[in-house]
């Protein structure tokens, strides 16, 4: 198992009610696996992976990106306010 630190922004943070959390994932898990684990644990997350910008260790990443222990995964939903 690997432990990943997750940063949540905007609507996703509102949906879950917290701005960061820790998740455990199987070895070789990808960003997509992390998203699946999160939406299972927090069904209130309404936005899907392809509707979010995702960064791993502050680098924009796609959902196939393979995660390593201690990675910081950021979910950055679009915001439209002006």
């Amino acid at each position: 198992m690997i432990s990943i630190h997750v940063l949540l922004f905007a609507q996703v943070a509102v949906d879950i009610g917290q701005a960061e959390l820790q998740i455990e994932l199987p070895d070789n898990a990808t960003v997509d696996d992390a998203l699946a684990a999160l939406s299972e644990r927090y069904p209130s997350i309404a936005l899907q992976g392809h509707q979010l910008a995702i960064a791993v260790n502050a680098d924009y990443a796609d959902i196939g990106h393979k995660l390593s222990p201690g990675d910081e995964l950021a979910l950055i939903p679009p915001v439209s306010g002006g």
């Binding site: 209130s44 910008a53 502050a58 679009p78 915001v79 439209s80 306010g81 002006g82």
Partner: protein, 391 residues
């Protein structure tokens, strides 16, 4: 941008006005002339457009275009500091133009009183060097992005939500990423609340807008390290900035290596119909049944058999409410579906109609008889109970 040879002169008054710029080695007389020679289009004269246009006018950007079609409302004044109380009811551009010309008579303010769309975006944007995106909705953001990529114009992006904001610079001239590289697909309608639905800290667009203004000035001066390829995210509650490195997506439909979108499209269709503006919400191809506030009033007066549910938050319910409504915030609806009576009719409202549509969808999926109130309590306050405060 204009070359040094063609730069305009500064008058004695202008030299005095810009003296604190002129003594900066990064600006100098030449840099100030570049600012005077530059043209910039501010799309949206709202929370972001207010500080952006005020600082850029003060800084001496020679020609500033403003795009907006709204009128000033009381709810704008908490953050749109370009407007005064006496401007309420007036069209935004007339008020903004007067304020900016008052701030700096040496510049030209142009107004475009239109809804920016695929019909006019290329014409309007094509006439300016730099675009600043301060719009408040997804269709216009995608439209501005695509037009800027097609016209190869730098697009200084900023966006806000409650206490947090994002800013970056999309610059197709240097093959930087575009908005679609960041967000290829728009969120489903109603899923991301606007400032009107979600609220916004008044100072927040001041912070994000001044970041956009600083990026525009640096771009014109050719100074410093700009935000191309970096998404700057600000959180006012944590008072922290965080930066994410972006990259251009070679498969991006607009700025990728083989773009499939080479002209503007129908952005309202691309993003879906927005909940708060339509009487029925179309999602997953299914219409959500709705009544308007007049019909709701008639049903209450006739003592029809139904239960009215308010799915707003308690602090919103406190501001104003329809007396017979029971408060069940949207976030609690899913967990309470089993407690609703399948033989009863539920009429659901929120502030504008977006959240209640989501609640109705959840309730109907659970086999309940639920309908939405289009326009929400805001429409009720406008059409049925004029004494009710709006927010």
């Amino acid at each position: 941008m204009t070359t040094t040879a063609k730069l305009p002169d500064l008058s004695k008054e202008e030299i005095q006005r810009y003296s604190r710029h002129l003594i900066l080695p990064e600006v100098t007389l030449t840099g100030q002339k570049k600012l005077k020679a530059a043209s910039l289009l501010m799309i949206g004269t709202g929370g972001l457009g207010a500080p952006v246009s005020m600082y850029l006018a003060a800084a001496g950007i020679g020609r500033i275009g403003l795009v907006d079609f709204d009128r000033v409302e009381f709810t704008n004044l908490q953050r749109q500091i370009i407007f005064s109380t006496q401007d309420v009811g007036q069209d935004k551009l007339t008020a903004a133009k007067a304020r900016l010309e008052g701030a700096n008579p040496h510049i030209k303010i142009e107004t475009h009183q239109v809804h920016l769309s695929s019909e006019n975006a290329l014409d309007i944007i094509g006439d300016y060097d730099i675009v600043i995106d301060g719009t408040d909705n997804f269709p216009t953001r995608y439209c501005v992005n695509d037009a800027c990529v097609i016209l190869r114009k730098p697009n200084v992006y900023g966006s806000i939500f409650r206490f947090e904001g994002q800013a970056t610079l999309f610059d197709p001239r240097v093959k930087g990423p575009c908005y679609r590289c960041l967000y290829p697909d728009p969120p489903p309608p109603g899923m991301v609340p606007s400032c009107a639905e979600g609220g916004v800290l008044g100072i927040l667009p001041g912070i994000i807008g001044t970041i956009q203004a600083a990026e525009a000035i640096k771009l014109i001066l050719g100074q410093g390290k700009n935000l191309v390829g970096r998404l700057l995210r600000f959180d006012a509650l944590a008072m922290s900035f965080k930066e994410f490195r972006l990259r251009r997506d070679p498969n991006c439909p607009v700025c990728g290596d083989n773009p499939s979108i080479t002209e503007l499209i129908d952005y309202e269709q691309f993003c879906g119909i927005r909940g708060e503006e339509s009487t029925t919400i179309i999602r997953d191809g299914q219409d959500i049944p709705a009544i308007n506030v007049q019909e709701l009033k008639a049903a209450i007066d006739a003592e029809e058999d139904f239960e009215l549910i308010d799915v707003r938050e308690p602090h919103e319910h406190q501001i104003c409410n329809i007396r017979s409504a029971s408060l069940i915030p949207l976030g609690q609806i899913a967990g309470q579906l089993a407690q609703f009576d399948p033989n009863k009719r539920y009429v659901v409202h929120c502030k504008l109609g977006g959240r209640s549509a989501q609640a109705v969808e959840l309730m109907r999926q659970a086999g309940l008889d639920a309908i939405n109130v289009s326009g929400g309590i805001t429409a009720w306050a406008k059409e049925v109970d004029q004494a009710m405060p709006t927010y």
